[in-house]
Symmetry: D2
Subunit: 364 residues, 4 copies
Amino acid sequence: MPSSIKRIGILTGGGDCPGLNAVIRAVTKTALHRHGLEVMGIEDGFQGLVQNRLRQLHNEDVSNILTLGGTILGTNNKCDPRNYVVARNGHTEKADVTDRCMEHLAHHQIDALVVIGGDGTMSVASHFVRQGINCIGVPKTIDNDLEGTDVTFGFATACMIASEALDRIHTTAASHHRAMIVEVMGRNAGWLALQSGVASGADIILLPEIPYDIHKICQAVTDRSRHGKRFSIICVSEGAKPVGGKVVVDRVDPNSPDPIRLGGVGKVIATQIEELTGIETRTTVLGHVQRGGTPVVEDRILATQFGHAALDGLMRGLQSRLIVMKGRTVSDIDLLDVADKQRLVKLDHPLMQVARDLGTTFGD
Amino acid sequence: MPSSIKRIGILTGGGDCPGLNAVIRAVTKTALHRHGLEVMGIEDGFQGLVQNRLRQLHNEDVSNILTLGGTILGTNNKCDPRNYVVARNGHTEKADVTDRCMEHLAHHQIDALVVIGGDGTMSVASHFVRQGINCIGVPKTIDNDLEGTDVTFGFATACMIASEALDRIHTTAASHHRAMIVEVMGRNAGWLALQSGVASGADIILLPEIPYDIHKICQAVTDRSRHGKRFSIICVSEGAKPVGGKVVVDRVDPNSPDPIRLGGVGKVIATQIEELTGIETRTTVLGHVQRGGTPVVEDRILATQFGHAALDGLMRGLQSRLIVMKGRTVSDIDLLDVADKQRLVKLDHPLMQVARDLGTTFGD
Amino acid sequence: MPSSIKRIGILTGGGDCPGLNAVIRAVTKTALHRHGLEVMGIEDGFQGLVQNRLRQLHNEDVSNILTLGGTILGTNNKCDPRNYVVARNGHTEKADVTDRCMEHLAHHQIDALVVIGGDGTMSVASHFVRQGINCIGVPKTIDNDLEGTDVTFGFATACMIASEALDRIHTTAASHHRAMIVEVMGRNAGWLALQSGVASGADIILLPEIPYDIHKICQAVTDRSRHGKRFSIICVSEGAKPVGGKVVVDRVDPNSPDPIRLGGVGKVIATQIEELTGIETRTTVLGHVQRGGTPVVEDRILATQFGHAALDGLMRGLQSRLIVMKGRTVSDIDLLDVADKQRLVKLDHPLMQVARDLGTTFGD
Amino acid sequence: MPSSIKRIGILTGGGDCPGLNAVIRAVTKTALHRHGLEVMGIEDGFQGLVQNRLRQLHNEDVSNILTLGGTILGTNNKCDPRNYVVARNGHTEKADVTDRCMEHLAHHQIDALVVIGGDGTMSVASHFVRQGINCIGVPKTIDNDLEGTDVTFGFATACMIASEALDRIHTTAASHHRAMIVEVMGRNAGWLALQSGVASGADIILLPEIPYDIHKICQAVTDRSRHGKRFSIICVSEGAKPVGGKVVVDRVDPNSPDPIRLGGVGKVIATQIEELTGIETRTTVLGHVQRGGTPVVEDRILATQFGHAALDGLMRGLQSRLIVMKGRTVSDIDLLDVADKQRLVKLDHPLMQVARDLGTTFGD
């Protein structure tokens, strides 16, 4: 039975991630070229659906965007139509604007949605699935921490950026006989720290999954020093935590009642290493550069495969599935299955053993 | 039962490949740090074994080489101790110098070999296996065409270089309304052309596995022209061949009895496109830049995993195995199994279907 | 006296060159933002003027193009309105279509032209100057061979690309004990070979300005070999020539009456080195990758300065001038002064002496 | 009269800077190859001179270091032999150890020193000049803020890194409709912010030389928003300061009597923009990645020229001079002339006018 789908919508939600445009391009090109569908781009995630900001995507709209960072549709990492902030009688309040979204979908004759995003975006997508809208999800996280898929696009690019920074820092550390800390992203998952740390030969890698003992870290730094290696490279995940504790990162601003987050775990560890070992230590926090810009080859291909699989799945009759990669095969799982399930680095992950055997310390 | 191995040898054979030093580093660091072994580096592949050029590798010898292209041990892609060129009585002849190699191994008390190389190197390694020397192979080919493993190190770096070139060429093509051809490596396998072509959105991709019809290529170029796209990017594998034929690439040098290879398939196709369509066409042959320099993150990690697995396997008692990657898991296969078996792109490879559905032409 | 200019035209001619879009952006932004002018983009160089293909450029047209390779206006390296190919009575002939161009300029009320291009483009621009059209030229050549300016945009990017290739090739040469040749662009000028050769520590650099003696080259290669350096990196300009001679690069195609250019000086030298020294030698011809893609910082700034200076000059009343860089100061010279004057590398150029003192050979 | 110099010493002082190894290589190769001198490398800046840690540099020591970040000699940015910390009777005190240095120089028969470093290092060098040691200085600062030279090596590499980060951040800003701040180095000089800001098309550039008005910044951000540009890129120098004020950047650590520097001007401005405009704003502090790693082509050539000129100058009889670049010509000035003189961005610098005319705001 041929698919009855004539026109689809597509949107991107959540934080920036290299490869978003590659997905949009693959979905649109496959839809236009292979299946003769029409594609409506929804601007700024679900916010564009609430505000009825959609535009048709033609082949020329998605030409030359494969290498482009960001998303040509715009994104939004806060909008939930079930709790939408509306102005009413001079003040703002939250309202459920699902009906408005449904009207816009009907008005534009959209038969199905391709939704590219992370946890939050998929949670909203599930809501629309329950309203009867077929949504195919494409997972997006540079943190690579999604349960159900072995890898997500954007992660390889983030690894490249983190690794390049570690390589650069390496020469400074070696010339100055310093400990150098590079703090990378990853939220509660250590994938980015582990991969970029191994790729750049970091001496110490600190993951959220393994609470660190600052004394073990200092021991490793001074051991290296004793063996004639007068520098140490430390790759620390932003979510790393000390044994039995919480990183103190807030400051009290004398002019403000609220604490302001000014530093992170990297700076805290640097201070402690200097105090405990006397070895000069510097921290670099990579921040948003890890999220933006041209995707690497691996992410371009993965994003293209995911986008194609989403559209292809739609036409094959898939209902509310999330596209994933298992081993080296594209597959799909239930869209609702991934909510709130994070894929963390297991302590017996093979790459951890590799790193340990080569002499890397995890602070445990 | 603990391993009786006390000292290992390591060598690299065949062509250059980004990640060789990462393997050498991983083998050596794991041997020294984890197992307390000694490591002898054999220079210039099996030639160093014949000529007794070995040197001990210490930790400092493999520090800071992770990001370094090439191989610190040197390589050689012709030496076969069974057919070794020796000078005798004023002329050269071929001789079997296996005994000499065995003496050198015995003299240096080498208990096992880690052999990093391609087909040719593994064939020689098998010979030593039959002489009773335990060899663990680590596969090396930027062409990614080895039967038995899903991926080889060096390939991702080659893809990155090819893709960067395609990206650069893209702007020139678009500005000049030209067809631009980029000829990439791959021997008889189209992996590099396929991956880099998809990653850079090439309009036409030509693989050795799919004989091309020059008229189909010209059709695709002129079709694009008619649709307002006044340029075409063609990614062609060096091994691509026309339907029913062979590429003519040799010239007759008036001063030499032998033909000299001056051009390749890329230049031949360019000439034909210009003749058949009148559209200006230019070719770039990437050549050896695809083989050298700093490996990308993916290759650094893969090479590190392979090196670690080789040493780890040795200590676990593996005998004459080749380290491979299946899915995302490191494994091993019989060293003799891979000889002369090439992994080609299958015509139903999922990425080929993705490319076709997005509008890419394969010239068939 | 305020300028009477209300609307300008802008076009790009000649080959691709990183930084073209940065010039277009700077001209347009300065015109719109600073002077309140209107800007008409002329498509595909002077061909767009003949064919009346112009479009107005607004701020959004030049947003996000600073880092983009190529030219958003398109270019053309053959069109000369004085010798324009027109179809007449079933055959083509050449005609002077200057009047047609003048009508189009008048129709669009264009008061002055900013013309970005090389020798050929400036020659056409001078023709329009003689017709009474004020043209301000912005020089464009990746070869950096323009008399009157110390540097041109695009050159730094080409140097970076050539240098990256030389760096990659370096590891292959060192691992294999080979001579490796990289042939770079430059036409009759050796700037690109000199700068990229010095930047990457090439052992031998061959420039068009210094006829090479193949025996001196072989001597340098074997000398290095004798001193334990078993590889040599040779950076050769495409225009390099042997002492007293001409490089033979053409082949006779058995199926064609015309010789086809298949190889260049790099391949010829490789063959000779192998024959004369027995040392394995490989050549890479960089080709068009040197002309395309994102410009480096230096070129972005230079192109921005040139574009700004062109528009600024127009408003200050400059007539038929070419924007140039003297030392580190932007200046301008007579547009007609540069025709057919090429800036070559002088034999006593300071960087040549630097290279010689460090041990580099120039084959002389 | 031939120079009586037979053996020179070389050292690197101060912070890391891409190009240091290129200088060491050029000095050493010129000394060995051109003048037949001997070269002693002094480790870790002047500290190696105090501690008599010198080693002879041969050609192979400086091969393959041209592209290497850092310094193979090590550096030190605190050691001053006039105020050297020595342990005496169980406590530390400061002493003048100049005599000890002079003995080591005499013992190693060093006739002259090449000193690569910044202000602090040159101040120590002048001290040795007054002791009768001929020192030729090579200036080093990624900040490009040295009076007497138009450009210093390392600066171009830092610009490239900052510009790459701005490019990446750009896509995130555009996708999220945010203001994004990138804080770059430069101490009291805005060169790095100005050049990288212009090269990446930053909308707002804040320099130490131009006190900023936060309301002007917010005005620019909201103006862009009103014109449909829903994002702003702000490139801020670490030394930027508000009108009439000082940036508050310290926190009081409850567990420590001393304030700890956790944030900088970038984070302060982000907080203010969010408060004053309601527009989401993020900051990235680039930090030490700007100082390390492989130098770009421009820096490799400049560093090579400087190193060559230092040695060449020595042999021509120069006494206590600092190598500089004026326009595009290498020259030299009195070593003592540069002490404590910083080259700041002048308010009428041509590039500032270019940026303003293109629409960039400087917050004034």
